[in-house]
Amino acid sequence: MKFSFTQAARYTALVLLVLAGAVLLVAGGVRYLPARGEMPAEVRHLPVYAAWSFLRMLIAYFFALAFSIPYGFLAATNKRAEKVLLPLLDILQSVPVLGFFPAAVFFFVSLTHGSRLGVEMASIFLIFTSQAWNIAFGCYEALTTIPQDSFDALASQGVHGWQRFRILYLPACVPKLVYNSILSWAGGWYFLIACEIISIGPTEAALPGLGSFLKRAAAEGRVGLTLTGIAVLIAIVVAMHLFIWRPLESWSEKFRYEFAASTVAPSRLLVFYRELRLVAYIGRTARRLAAYVARQKIRLFPPRQVIADLEALPPLWRRIVGRTIGILASACALYILVRAGMALVVVLRPPWPHQAWMIPAALGASFLRLLVAYILALAWTIPVAVWAGNRPRAMRIVGPFAQIASSVPATSLFPLIVMFAIHHRGGTNIAAVLLVLTGMQWYILFNLLAGVHAIPGDLKEATRSLGLTGWRAFKTLTLPAMLPSLITGSITGWGGGWNALILSEYLPYAGKVYSVLGIGTLLQEATVPPGNQAMMVLSLVAMVVVILLLNRFFWRRMYNWAADLYKIEY
């Protein structure tokens, strides 16, 4: 993809706008202090806590679906919308979920005048941010890879509008939707620990839930309790995997184009579910509802009549209407920018906090930590992916195992890691790198597995027939063929790494804090009572800018290069 000047300008404007909005909300958020809540951490509370967490995840997930499907649909089907929506998604995905914290809390808590509901909404919103972007990307990808022939065939048959959405777009999304939902739930569980205790300024509000339970237990240094909490979490993840995701994955096979390889084992549970009356009833009701909606001729997407009317206007009027809309939109954007600028000036009024000068060094240290974690991740994921990706049976074990492992919030393993860390020189640093690794490695593994698995069988056979084995086969076929997925995995992996960083450099344990120099530490310290708005905004902005620059000027270029050279096209 070549980047023209206008595209670059548009992208920059978008980045500025989003940053400005974030700044505005962060600056406001710090002013609001939610009520303090005490959540006792005892084993007997666990079932209730688990239920609360699950409910929060579920609600957030439904919002994520409701957001992602239309978003992905619009980006995939409307060229003009795509130009805005895709870079925006890129930014949203790059901003660490924890960076949204103050903003979300401010917004929702002030909306409900400081009630528990507000804190709940903030928490659900944060979980939503860890789930939604990935699903939206999946939807977009699925829709843009629908074969042209399918479109032509439907157009030839006179199919359009709602019918096309129902029989083509929606079904084509299903496999990606299911797969990315699994990843999104894993991401949600991983960050749950950060999403249920909301601390801003001098106060902290904890919600009843597994995440807050784990964090409290870890902070108090109670290893047994922490492990019990983790066990409950793993039990939920495994149960969901067995009873929901596997049958769903098996079902989603039906919606796959034949040229797309599959790794999914048939599910016996799916057969069982099919027999259940309840499931049949739900399916029937959903279909009826959809048919009802279709009969109402509800136009989901741009009101065509309005556009047609506008286009029928005389040119002068059309220009006036167009200009007016443009001016209004620019005025809104300008207003947001100005307000954000003012907020920024207030927050960042000199003298700057002396820690501000530590930001570059902290960013550098954090970057190095990510780099080390990345190398470690590559060192084990590449061999595992090459080994399992070529063996369907190994794939069926490694895949689900990785999905479960990636759901466990490594942050809850604090006590074990910290206990080790305090007894060794540089232990905290090693602990931080290991924690970052847990937020990074799975994304890389998932992508690599998919990449290796997708190498066409005849290429593998051709390589074998030519007598290439071992390192030579890897160098000639496997490595180049998996390069695009390696880079996609690296992009998401680094995203996950930056996110995990905030939790990894600053480890509260048994009443003490173990921390290392880094941007995550600066960000966390800024939220320690009494709170330091200037530092919070500065660190967050610096971090986001670095992430965006890296994405734009390094990863995107790497991806284009790899996709150009090493994409296998048939």
Binding site: D152, A153, L154, A155, S156, Q157
Partner: protein, 250 residues
């Protein structure tokens, strides 16, 4: 025979980063009502593009398409199309795939189902209504594609390399059945435009063969095929015609 489709000075140009590429240059062509017209040419000569322009799936860069005398704008629903890749939706059953176009025309459920069954029968797939495409062989899939195109009861059937993805035996059978269906007075289809790179296929099926050359795509020659049906592939006349078309392409 009057012309049902008229192409007047059709040109198709695609903008490319390294400059424009011209797919079709000033193609003028008439398709007569009731004929089987084959379009042959080397790969990349724009024959599939031409077919899609006839259908209105893609607009020409310049020129006019007339259907029954009227200039055409957008997709012509009096045509049905059969694809080389079959283009069936994998998540719909055979019956549902065939019903897609009928539902789009707002027919009620009962009528859709009846009509779909009729054409599934016609192509010899009765008993497979509930099957999914992945459970069918290539030949059966293309029968579904054919049933889907016929079910909307088009005037003109457009076929884009319909038998090229099938094995030789299957394609021989399907070609014969196609001619039978075309001769069936109970079916509204009486005109067929078929795009193919197989010269024998063109000579076997067509009343007329249009030969395209590439870079840019243009008509070289239009040849009338006056062999009696059913055609004998081993006959000297058949071979002579194949040789003649072949010499025009190479």
């Amino acid at each position: 025979m009057p012309a049902i489709i008229e192409l007047e000075h059709i040109t198709k140009i695609y903008p490319r980063p390294e400059g424009e590429s011209q797919i079709l240059a000033d193609v003028s062509l008439e398709v007569m009502d009731g004929e089987v017209l084959a379009v042959v040419g080397p790969s990349g000569c724009g024959k599939s593009t031409l077919l899609r322009i006839i259908h209105g799936l893609i607009p020409p860069s310049a020129g006019v398409v007339r259907f029954a005398g009227r200039a055409q704008d957008g997709i012509n629903l009096s045509c049905g199309m059969v694809f080389q890749s079959f283009a069936l939706l994998p998540w719909l059953t055979v019956e549902q795939n065939v019903m897609v176009g009928l539902e789009a025309r707002g027919l009620d459920d009962e009528t859709c189902r009846k009509r779909a069954m009729k054409y599934i029968d016609k192509v010899g797939l009765d008993g497979n209504e509930e099957a999914y495409p992945r459970e069918l062989s290539g030949g059966m899939k293309q029968r579904v594609g054919l049933a889907r195109a016929l079910a909307v009861e088009p005037k003109v059937l457009l076929m884009d390399e319909p038998f090229s993805a099938l094995d030789a035996l299957t394609s021989i059978n399907l070609r014969e059945e196609l001619i039978d269906l075309w001769g069936d007075p109970a079916l509204p289809v009486d005109t067929i435009v078929i795009v193919t790179h197989l010269i024998e296929e063109a000579v076997e099926l067509a009343d007329r063969i249009v030969v395209l050359a590439s870079n840019p795509g243009r008509i070289v020659e239009s040849i009338k095929v006056e062999l009696p049906r059913p055609r004998e592939r081993k006959s000297p006349e058949f071979s002579a015609l194949v040789d003649r078309v072949f010499s025009l392409i190479v």
